[in-house]
């Protein structure tokens, strides 16, 4: 056993660090490190920069424009980007759809869709959940009925993250209503400009329209845009779950948030005294840093394992979301009463401009989602219990 990074990995990390320091637009980094909202243009710009440097998706196979990077390297890459203040990459294309296309897509589909995912030109969104199909995803009812060489799609998707900006959506649809729920599902790719699609934003509790309802009214989609065989959609969705685990714990983001927490705590006062003089607060910081350390190394232990195991990702999802939520709660606590104003009235430029408080409370509210989406923490516990107890 050697828990240190290999010299080549360290060299890789230094290379990424230097690259990010040089290429990440400083104003963007400054804004995002100080709690500014991530704009779609930030994501597009950064993906473009990464692409030009050959870093658009380093863990993709070289044949598709990647570098065949090992999971640990991908982690190091994301950590360096996050700590420096980069926006996240849009996971729907790079992380979710791309591996599926590489495994199940036709050569034609790979040629058509992969390049613009890598450059960041095409914005993808994920259309799985429906009003009646959340945790019980397999009960989804959006129907795709064959009509010649097209599917005619009717139904409603919901919770589509950033779907208002999307050029394309990958959707799970029901292609067979007569068989067991899991057996009648297919994955189709739909151009958002296709007639019959309506997008309606849903405002979340932090006041932002981050997700959308998407309605399909007789939307015609060429059969050639189905990925994999008809009724193979559930298998594909499960494949994705197994492969989407490098960043399941969200450690890079937690580390970035923790650094901000530390900055805020060092500037904060409580009852007229520096907050950092308060032993109980310092103990909370310490405890949280221990959580983060444990999380990071559990994540690395999993990423560097030769053989993937089925329960660790679920546990990492649970702990990763809990730790990040706890960091956001402590950050809010450190601000004390300064955390109260969410929207500032006209005239108080000082508060809105305050880099120390910006976005802290909004982020605490927003990050409740971490334990709900991507398979809620209760569903993750069910998965582990099923696998370990199995009664």
């Amino acid at each position: 056993m050697n828990i240190e990074l290999a010299p080549e990995d360290l060299a890789f990390r230094d290379h990424i660090r230097a690259f990010v320091a040089e290429q990440l637009p400083a104003a963007m980094a400054q804004r995002l490190l100080n709690g500014g909202k991530i704009e779609p243009s930030d994501i597009r710009t950064w993906q473009g920069i990464l692409y030009k440097a050959g870093l658009g998706a380093i863990y993709w196979p070289a044949a598709f424009g990647g570098q065949d990077a090992a999971p640990v390297r991908q982690y190091l890459f994301e950590l360096e980007c996050a700590l420096a203040g980069a926006p996240p990459q849009l996971s729907f294309g790079v992380r979710m759809l791309a591996p599926v296309l590489m495994r199940f897509g036709t050569t034609e589909q790979q040629r058509t869709f992969l390049p613009s995912i890598l450059t960041g030109e095409t914005w993808w969104c994920q259309g799985y959940s429906e009003p009646g199909a959340g945790s019980d995803l397999a009960s989804l009812r959006t129907a795709a009925v064959l009509d010649g060489d097209h599917y005619v799609i009717n139904g409603q998707k919901c919770w589509n993250t950033l779907g208002q900006y999307a050029d394309w959506i990958f959707c799970l649809v029901r292609t067979d209503f007569t068989v067991k729920a899991q057996r009648g599902i297919s994955l189709v790719l739909i151009d958002m400009k296709t007639p019959g699609i309506t997008v309606r934003p849903t405002v979340l509790l932090d006041g932002t329209p981050e997700v959308n309802d998407i309605y399909f009214d007789n939307v015609r989609v060429p059969v050639s845009q189905r990925v994999g065989a008809e009724n193979e959609g559930w298998t594909i969705a499960k494949f994705l779950l197994v492969h989407e685990r490098t960043n399941i714990a969200g450690v890079p983001w937690s580390k970035r948030d923790f650094a901000r927490l530390l900055g805020i705590a060092q500037a904060a006062t409580r009852d007229g005294r520096p907050l950092m003089e308060d032993a109980s607060f310092r103990a909370k910081l310490a405890r949280l840093e221990i959580d983060l350390e444990v999380l990071e190394h559990t994540n690395l232990r999993m990423l560097s394992a030769a053989k993937p195991d089925m329960t660790t990702p679920s546990i990492l999802k649970i702990r990763g979301s809990e730790v990040r939520q706890a960091i956001s709660a402590l950050t809010m606590e450190a601000l004390g009463r300064q955390a109260l104003p969410l929207v500032v009235g006209p005239g108080d430029a000082a508060l809105t401009e305050d880099a120390l408080t910006r976005g802290v409370t909004a982020s605490y509210l927003n990050l409740r989602k971490l334990s709900i989406f991507g398979g809620s923490n209760e569903i993750q516990r069910n998965i582990v219990a099923q696998s370990m107890i199995g009664l």
């Binding site: 959340g134 509790l205 997700v211 109260l340 104003p341 508060l351 334990s371």
Partner: protein, 370 residues
């Protein structure tokens, strides 16, 4: 011993619940929330007719002579309804005036405060303040800043705490007009949607005869404690309502072929919340019963109350959102508004740790371990 309410107290609570469920249902409240002022003077007027602001004032001053229990019952009802009107704030100001102000000040202001035509709100949530009161003959000059003062935009009067020369904690209480010269209010909206303002005071004149309620640090602390009680009672109302909403949701939301409430994993989470609420319920009324009692016991009880209230607010708030799944994080759902109210309640009047430290200092001072 009994923890029962008197018949009058029960009638008050029932009348208020009925009034709020008819006139401040969630849809109405949503319109109020998004209105320009962010509160409804019409609802306030109805509540005033019910006697809500009068409750805290002495009967000799035209009030109803209520005390801490009435305060807690009213605040609990307004928390359940997520009221945006300055109810808790004005109750605290009115009770402080009723108990501590000299007769002249009281008789001058009590009638309009009782009628609800004048609204007073406190500007402080702890004795630690940067507001300074400098004495000049028969008047004080008040300077400094009070941040995020709840309901400041709808106040006619501010109940203000300040430090006189040489004091590090507030030792004077004033009631000054909101339009006093030298007072600048910069509005903001709190995370729970309630309107507030930062108050900047520059040499605001406060004559002793017209504005001074008390020159006594103990009086300031008592008034802070009333505020904590009101907030904790409001929190109790909000968590009770949140759990009721959540139980409804668990019974009606179907996944995997039936209501999600049939999963024991979720049932136990609800029971965890219910246990927290029982504790808070107990502490709210224990603290109310001790508000006018021996000061040291009152202080430890109020500190304990805020510890329990903060923990309950965070635990229940996070749990009920989680149990609603994605719906829990939408603006549309009532539950997310309770969550935000509970987030604010955890921050206002000091954190769990601040009150735990206060409790520890009172009960287990370092000298005892030596």
């Amino acid at each position: 011993m009994n923890f029962d309410f008197t018949e009058e107290q029960t009638l008050l609570a029932d009348a208020l619940h009925r009034c709020l469920s008819e006139q401040a249902d969630f849809a109405t409240r949503k319109r109020t929330l998004h209105s320009d002022t962010g509160w409804s003077r019409a609802l306030w007027t109805v509540l005033a007719e019910l006697g809500v602001p009068a409750t805290m004032l002495a009967d000799t001053d035209g009030g109803l002579g209520g005390g801490a229990i009435e305060l807690a019952l009213i605040a609990r009802a307004t928390g359940a309804a997520l009221c945006l009107e300055p109810i808790g704030s004005s109750l605290v100001a009115n009770l402080t005036l009723a108990r501590l102000a000299p007769a002249g000040l009281r008789t001058r202001l009590a009638p309009s405060l009782a009628a609800g035509t004048r609204i007073a709100v406190p500007t402080f949530e702890s004795p630690y303040t940067v507001l300074q009161a400098t004495r000049h003959d028969a008047a004080y000059r008040l300077s400094g800043t009070a941040r995020v003062v709840y309901h400041a935009p709808c106040a006619d009067q501010f109940l203000l705490a300040a430090c006189t020369a040489g004091s590090t904690i507030a030792d004077t209480l004033f009631l000054i007009p909101a339009n006093a010269a030298g007072l600048l209010a910069v509005p903001c909206t709190s995370v729970d949607g309630q309107r507030a303002a930062d108050l900047h005071l520059t040499d605001v004149q406060a004559t002793t005869a017209d504005t001074l309620i008390s020159h006594d640090a103990a009086a300031v602390q008592w008034s802070v404690d009333v505020g904590i009680l009101a907030l904790a009672a409001e929190t109790l109302g909000s968590v009770e309502r949140s759990i009721a909403l959540t139980i409804d949701y668990l019974k009606t939301r179907n996944q995997f072929g039936g209501p999600i409430g049939r999963f024991q994993a979720l049932q136990h989470r609800v029971v965890g919340c219910l246990a927290k609420v029982e504790e808070l319920h107990t502490m709210v009324f224990v603290a109310a019963a001790r508000l006018d009692g021996e000061p040291m016991l009152r202080r430890t009880t109020i500190a304990a109350l805020k510890v329990i209230a903060c923990e309950t607010a965070q635990h229940v708030g996070e749990e009920v959102v989680q149990l609603h799944g994605g719906m829990g994080v939408t603006e549309e759902m009532e539950i997310s508004h309770h969550f935000r109210r509970l987030v604010a309640a955890g921050i206002r009047f000091g954190s769990r740790d601040q009150h735990l430290a206060a409790y520890t200092a009172l009960r287990f001072p370092p000298s005892q371990s030596a």
